[in-house]
């Protein structure tokens, strides 16, 4: 980490600190206060978009740990998000568990399903693992569609919004706070997994699994742990998104949705917690910007709005290809470059 002039790390804790300088602490506090005040001056429509983006960040943090840090590429992430969403909806709707317990249980169940899928990672890597996660995606979605007595099949399932102490969390402006708190916790956990010994082991496995094994890393245990953590994040993100949406159906969890999560990672930058935020925000702005442009155009060209979904696929594919070609390290790398530039300005050497 580059420090401003006259700031020196004298103790190990200072070197390890995520927030080191006073400016960083001020920005953090300002960010949290700004976040807490957001529902006061942002409309419901905008809040729904923000809540969806925040749940996507939580789910993508899991994929970042699994793929970005541990190097186990999963193209079935939407299926684990679906498992979390359905588990939470069933726990809350049919077993009438409290909201917090349902979401936590959803995370654990998604993690356990991830563990089962992760068993294939013991023997496989590279694109063989990609294919096995792809197969897992299709099998999980098949089970959701056809186990109608529990999941409601293709008609879907209602995921009731929580009610706590008389506050109705069906309103986006109230639900926002739950997701915001979850996002803070998830980011805290993910960041600390990434920078402590578990995260270092993950990075060692990603960079060279044989070398890691020679160094004494228990590959099986850590790969499975990565799958559990990654899918548990997916489950929590999926559960929170499900209760925000109110109704879930298998159509929300297609293979293409899995590719969206991968796109967040590629755009944000693999192996960076900050990158997840950049990726999700970038795509959200792109998606909603395109939506507004098309809605504006539909005044002159009727039916333009219906082009949004396919057009977004084209744009998403194009963005993935462009980022892989021109900036494989993602927006997080650009952000580092920008910070260095800002720190050194006006004398860049």
């Amino acid at each position: 980490m580059h420090l401003p002039s006259a700031t020196f790390n004298e103790r190990y804790e200072q070197d390890m600190a995520v927030f080191r300088t006073r400016l960083q602490w001020i920005l953090l506090a300002g960010g949290i206060v700004l976040g807490l005040c957001l529902p006061l001056f942002v409309g419901n429509y905008m809040l729904t978009i923000i809540v969806t983006a925040m749940t996507a960040v939580i789910a993508t943090l899991g994929l970042q740990i699994l793929t970005g840090f541990c190097g186990q590429l999963s193209v079935g992430h939407a299926a684990f998000v679906a498992v979390g969403a359905y588990a939470s909806a069933i726990f809350m709707g049919q077993s009438s568990l409290p909201f917090g317990v349902a979401v936590a249980a959803a995370g654990i169940i998604a993690g356990l399903v991830g563990l089962v899928v992760g068993l294939t990672s013991i023997r496989l890597k590279g694109f063989y693992l990609i294919i096995s996660t792809l197969a897992a995606h299709f099998i999980i979605v098949y089970i959701i569609v056809h186990w109608t007595s529990v999941t409601g099949g293709s008609f879907g399932l209602s995921a009731p919004a929580p009610k706590l102490a008389g506050i109705n969390f069906a309103r986006p402006s109230n639900y926002f706070y739950i997701v915001f708190a979850a996002l803070l916790v998830a980011t805290y956990v993910a960041k600390n997994i990434a920078r402590t010994n578990v995260g270092r082991v993950f990075v060692a496995i990603r960079d060279n699994d044989l070398a890691a094994e020679v160094m004494g890393v228990n590959l099986t245990a850590y790969k499975l742990l990565a799958f559990f953590i990654g899918c548990a994040f997916a489950g929590v993100g999926g559960a929170l998104a499900a209760h925000a949406r109110g109704v879930i159906s298998p159509d929300n969890y297609t293979l293409i949705q899995s590719f969206w999560y991968l796109a967040y990672l590629i755009i944000g930058g693999l192996g960076s917690i900050t990158g997840v935020f950049f990726g999700v925000i970038f795509i959200a702005i792109l998606n909603n910007g395109l939506g507004s442009i098309l809605a504006f155009l539909s005044g002159t060209f009727p039916g333009a709005s219906s082009l949004l979904a396919p057009l977004m696929l084209v744009v998403l594919g194009l963005v993935i290809v462009l980022f892989l070609t021109f900036e494989p390290r993602g927006l997080a790398h650009r952000w580092e470059i920008f910070k260095a530039y800002y720190r050194l300005w006006p004398f860049s050497h």
Binding site: Y128, S132, L255, M312, V321, L324, P328
Partner: protein, 291 residues
């Protein structure tokens, strides 16, 4: 007994369609080392091209098929030049992501132009089923079997005897070494994508006739993955046999396991089992990891 035989015949007929798609996969992998998840998109585009030539423009069907194959050849080359040429020498997984990007783009473009309604070709074959070994099979399946057989023989000869075929094998082994002995890696990549696209388009015409032309045809690219893994990634006979076995297994599973829609995921269950037992397939190269 006759019922089993009937299922077998139909399974082989369906499986030969898988084989055709799998051949394109294996070709690209063999030549460029790229695992092309956009193969299904090429198939889908091929069937829509054929639809455009035969219905929208109104050409005679067989001429339309020829034009489709030619157009698909160029299209494959174009895709390679625009998207993949810059990725030569990049990590394989990054290239795989690029093919996912291509998959998303093709799906979006198809939805934008043709929408979600499925289309059908003009009827160009007799619709009367033909009886083979007690099983009544539609003529299109016989076309599929014949096409798979022809493509198989052509591919085998191509890799064995033509200089570009040998160059492809060299490129797959090591791109830098291939370049240093004077092989144009760019040309190898272009030709292999062009041929794979042509193969996919042939599959697209057949699949489009059997089902109908719709944007969901690109799922075929994922459905044939088990066939490729079963046969081994770099084996052409493996792709053929893998496709046939997959077709038969899917058909038997659909007929004898009493779960609705189970045939959709039987390939993937087989795939998971295979990956855990023989990840390199029946005829693939066993990779030994060296430190």
């Amino acid at each position: 007994m006759s019922a089993i035989l009937e299922h077998l015949v139909i399974g082989i007929a369906v499986g030969s369609v898988y084989s055709i798609v799998a051949l394109g996969f294996v070709l690209i992998y063999k030549a460029t080392g790229i695992f092309n998840l956009a193969q299904g998109s090429l198939l889908c585009l091929g069937s829509y091209l054929c639809y455009v030539f035969s219905i929208s423009i109104g050409l005679p069907f067989y001429l339309a098929v020829l034009l489709t194959l030619a157009a698909a050849f160029l299209l494959g080359w174009l895709v390679q030049v625009v998207f993949l040429q810059r990725m030569i020498g990049q990590p394989h997984l990054a290239v795989l992501m690029v093919t996912i990007g291509i998959y998303l783009m093709v799906r979006g473009i198809i939805l934008m132009i043709w929408g979600t309604y499925s289309k059908s070709f003009p009827s160009y074959l007799p619709t009367q089923p033909v009886t083979i070994l007690g099983a009544s099979v539609l003529p299109i399946f016989i076309v599929a079997v014949v096409a798979a057989a022809i493509l198989f023989v052509v591919f085998i000869l191509f890799f064995k005897f033509t200089s570009i075929g040998v160059a492809m094998r060299a490129t797959q082994d090591n791109q830098q070494v291939a370049q240093s002995v004077g092989i144009s890696v760019k040309r190898v990549f272009g030709v292999s994508w062009a041929i794979a696209s042509l193969t996919a388009a042939a599959g697209g015409v057949i699949v489009g006739t059997i089902l109908s032309v719709s944007y969901t045809l690109d799922d075929f690219g994922f459905k044939v993955l088990p066939a490729i893994i079963l046969g081994g990634l770099e084996s052409i006979p493996g792709a053929l046999i893998g496709g046939l076995v997959l077709g038969v297994a899917e058909h038997f599973g659909g007929a004898y396991i009493g779960l609705i829609g189970i045939e959709e995921i039987i390939p993937f269950i087989i795939l998971l089992i295979l990956l855990l037992i023989v990840p390199y397939g029946l005829f693939g190269l066993k990779r030994i990891e060296r430190i």
